[in-house]
């Protein structure tokens, strides 16, 4: 049975293809369109998935959309009515957005793919999250907790899933918290207040929290209150996201927390104002963690299960995930590589396969690499055409050479195999560097990522060596498989892992098993033989404001525009001729002379 899953129209659209119960491929639209967070209907992603599987749209048994558009429309309309007359500005925009395209999803799918309406299915948003979390995890029975900004009505849902011995699968959502009461919206509101982009920069708030103290927890608890049944409500007087499209927080919110940050102003942590923003981030982070831990603990007591699957965009909050693992009673916590809306494409397809069509359970490969492959031959062609020095090496030589580069302090762009699904680079589209010196972190921030100085980089470590350098609790290695947890760096190693150790002594570590990314694992070992520490700094292969690179040519242009010293794709190794700055100038001079000569 061939099932295409689609998520679209809000943020980070994607397509995923499941054939005979097993994912075959999945990719986010932004990786193909090169527009970060691309929310448009994922035509390129669908096209690539079908091409990859050599399928025509007619061959699809079902196309599953990741939420119910009419239920969502009902929520938007009801919220506008409840906020009457304050919603008068938001109402036309909301209606134009919804009715212009988003509610007509069945027609959009029909018109693009030509499949009959009867083959178009709709899961609920949190069903998709739940399926993406549970059906991709290597567990037979687990509790499920999904939380994000909002789906149709639900913003948080709890339940459980079971893959039965007879091959049947069950996913049962027991109860939910409904919009506008939302942990995701709370966090996004603080993201906006702190001058970052909503639905994109929430991780910056988490990074900033490390520099602050939770001195404003009481104020945050006035904004979000716990209910007697263990849920929570937002005090809507502090918010405007439900009434306007211009601003998430109200004047009362500003009275409570002080003036918001101007997004253009850099955060200077040396000033009282900068520290206030960091404290604010630390406070909302603390309240988010406390609330999630409490809900997870209750779920554990209620289900008696040992495993928990987390889904929804809030599951990208590694600090909260780690506290859930430590304090909720669950022994293992599973977070997919794409817990947000992009992963819903895969979740929706798997849900339809197992629950709607009652197909027998199948194990889903436990890796995030479902996208287009990187082609080293293409890099050789580009380098040849542009007159760059490159080498095509056998695997072992290439890895030894790359380890030498890293040990010499060079920054390496690393492209290997299929692209990751989800926001983390987990070893196939990574920028790698030595993790030892703060200077390396600063260089990466300044010359390569062009981003804020306070944001930490993540380390990658082989599973065999992980415990030596990081304090991983039981179940920690699993949580760290897709960089979903944040763990303390052992004190004795913090100085030698300074580039990846956050100000609070933690790191968002990736613990790598050989089978998941064999070449990176081998590289870690080779680097360990040189430096004595088999740990590398691993950050996503992109520049600020751009999606992670997909094709080799995108890695190549990123390499050319930044301070990356070496680019490796497949078996090809490309180096810069001089220092990054000199190189950039040399490139300009060279190209301008090319231009002048061709003009003559």
């Amino acid at each position: 049975m061939k099932i295409l899953g689609v998520s679209a129209h809000y943020h980070d659209s994607a397509a995923a293809l499941v054939i005979d119960g097993v994912p075959v491929c999945a990719v986010q639209e932004e990786r193909l369109s090169r527009r970060k967070g691309d929310a448009s209907f994922p035509l390129s992603a669908i096209q690539w998935c079908l091409d990859h599987a050599c399928l025509e749209p007619d061959a699809l048994d079902a196309v599953v959309y990741y939420e119910r558009p009419m239920l969502k429309f009902e929520r938007i309309l009801t919220c506008a009515l409840r906020a009457f007359p304050h919603s008068w500005r938001a109402f036309p925009k909301a209606m134009q957005n919804s009715l212009g395209e988003r509610v007509w999803v069945r027609g959009i799918i029909s018109s693009h793919l030509g499949v009959p309406s009867s083959r178009i299915l709709f899961t609920e948003h949190h069903q998709s999250h739940a399926a993406a979390a549970f059906l991709t995890a290597p567990t037979r029975r687990a509790a499920i907790l999904t939380t994000d900004g909002v789906g149709e009505w639900a913003t948080l849902a709890v339940g459980h899933g079971e893959r039965k011995p007879d091959g049947n699968t069950e996913i049962t959502l027991l109860r939910e918290i409904r919009f506008p009461h939302s942990l995701g919206m709370l966090y996004s509101t603080f993201t906006a207040y702190l001058g970052f982009a909503v639905n994109e920069d929430e991780y910056k708030v988490m990074g900033l929290a490390g520099y602050g103290r939770p001195t404003m927890v009481d104020q945050v608890r006035r904004v979000i209150r716990r209910t007697p049944d263990g849920a929570f409500t937002l005090d809507l007087g502090y918010f405007e996201f439900h009434t306007t499209t211009e601003r998430s927080y109200s004047d009362r919110f500003v009275e409570l927390f002080g003036p918001p940050r101007n997004s253009y102003e850099p955060i200077d942590l040396e000033t009282a104002e900068g520290q206030r923003f960091a404290d604010c981030a630390a406070s909302v982070q603390r309240v988010l963690e406390d609330t999630l831990v409490d809900i997870a603990r209750t779920l554990h007591q209620e289900t008696g299960l040992t495993d928990l699957c987390l889904g929804g965009g809030v599951a990208l909050n590694g600090v909260a995930n780690t506290r859930i693992l430590a304090e909720s009673g669950f022994e293992r916590v599973f977070v997919p590589s794409a817990p947000g809306d992009a992963g819903c494409a895969l979740g929706a397809a798997l849900y339809a396969d197992r629950i709607h069509f009652h197909n027998p359970d199948r194990d889903v490969p436990d890796h995030p690499f479902w996208g287009p492959p990187a082609d080293g031959v293409e890099l050789a062609r580009l380098a040849r055409e542009d007159g760059h020095r490159f080498e095509e090496l056998d695997d072992s030589t290439l890895i030894e050479q790359t380890a030498d580069d890293l040990a010499a302090g060079r920054v390496v762009g690393w492209m290997d195999g299929a692209l990751e699904l989800g926001p983390r680079a987990l070893g196939h589209r990574s920028i790698l560097a030595a993790p030892h010196a703060v200077a390396m972190r600063d260089r990466l921030n300044r010359d390569i990522k062009f981003r804020e100085e306070f944001r930490p980089f993540a380390p990658a470590v082989s599973i065999e060596a992980a415990d030596r350098y990081f304090e991983l609790p039981p179940g920690g290695a699993r949580l760290a498989r897709f960089m979903s947890g944040v763990f303390p760096v052992r004190k004795e190693w913090r100085q030698r892992l300074a580039a990846v150790t956050h100000v609070d002594g933690t790191a968002r570590v990736q613990v790598l098993e050989h089978d998941m990314a064999p070449r990176l694992h081998t590289l870690l070992e080779a680097y360990g033989r040189r430096s004595g520490i088999p740990v590398l700094l691993n950050t996503s292969f992109n520049l600020a404001g751009e999606p992670i690179v997909n094709r080799v040519v995108e890695g190549y242009t990123t390499f050319r525009r930044s301070g990356i010293d070496v680019l490796v794709a497949g078996q090809t190794r490309l180096t810069k001729r001089a220092s990054p700055l000199a190189n950039a100038k040399e490139e300009v001079t060279c190209s301008r002379s090319v231009e002048r000569s061709s003009a003559r």
Partner: protein, 243 residues
């Protein structure tokens, strides 16, 4: 030429420090976005010389973005706290030339080169006016000076490359692109006008039709209890339904 006529207006717009700062910051975003589109162009063109030139152009745009942002932030920092300029006049003093209304990966090289040439020319005209009216802000003026030098290179390479890739038709391509810009301007205006009309109709509906429903919605909301809500069992929610 049109920009020249509005020189006094531009002088007024740029004289306010906070307005100037915000404008520079916005210019920074436009240049950076334009740079990204040029990177995309360099990734999709089959022509290796164009790939190098687009990439160089993209690096220039990125650098311009950094310069604008840095200067904008410098000006903002120099202002007294609480100062606030309410009117930004963005439409009167537009920014550079992001390639945002062009899907670069769907355009043949000749169309993209023509588009870039005209955009650069347009931006150079505007930036030269901005430079001239900034005689009291030497650092900002110097930024426009430097960018204008790059714009000359960009204008030249796009024109010469257009002649190279389309030797027989480059003049016609430029004219076609000029017409397309006019058509696109109309489409933008039509879409904006349509959006305004749609917004107006929906606003009228909001105040005329919604009040009784709003009353019912608020009454229903009062009956809802806060906290957890049960989820109805899955068999009640077949996947064929959109609701």
């Amino acid at each position: 030429m049109i920009f020249e006529m509005f020189r006094p207006v531009h002088r007024w717009i740029w004289c306010d420090a906070e307005r100037r700062a915000h404008k520079l910051l916005r210019f920074g975003e436009t240049e950076t976005d334009g740079g990204r589109d040029l990177v995309r162009a360099s990734e999709t063109t089959p022509d290796s010389l164009l790939r190098r030139l687009y990439l160089e152009h993209a690096i220039d745009e990125h650098r311009h973005g950094v310069m604008f942002r840095r200067r904008g932030n410098e000006i903002l920092r120099s202002l007294a706290p609480g100062s606030n300029s309410s009117f930004q006049a963005d439409w009167l003093a537009p920014s550079g030339h992001g390639v945002d209304d062009l899907r670069v990966d769907e355009e043949p090289d000749e169309a993209l080169l023509a588009f870039l040439h005209l955009s650069e020319k347009n931006a150079a005209d505007r930036f030269s006016v901005y430079r001239d009216v900034l005689e009291n802000d030497i650092p900002t003026r110097a930024i426009f000076e430097e960018i204008l030098r790059d714009e000359v290179f960009h204008m030249n390479y796009t024109l010469t490359q257009l002649a190279r890739v389309s030797p027989q038709r480059h003049g016609r391509t430029l004219w076609y692109e000029r017409l397309r810009r006019i058509w696109k301007s109309y489409l933008r205006m039509a879409a904006a006008l349509g959006a305004v009309m749609g917004g107006f109709i929906l606003t009228v509906q909001y105040f005329v039709i919604l009040p009784p429903f709003a009353w019912l919605a608020k009454r229903a909301e009062r009956r809802e209890s806060p906290g957890w809500a049960p989820v109805s069992p899955q068999p009640n929610r077949p996947l064929q339904r959109q609701y």
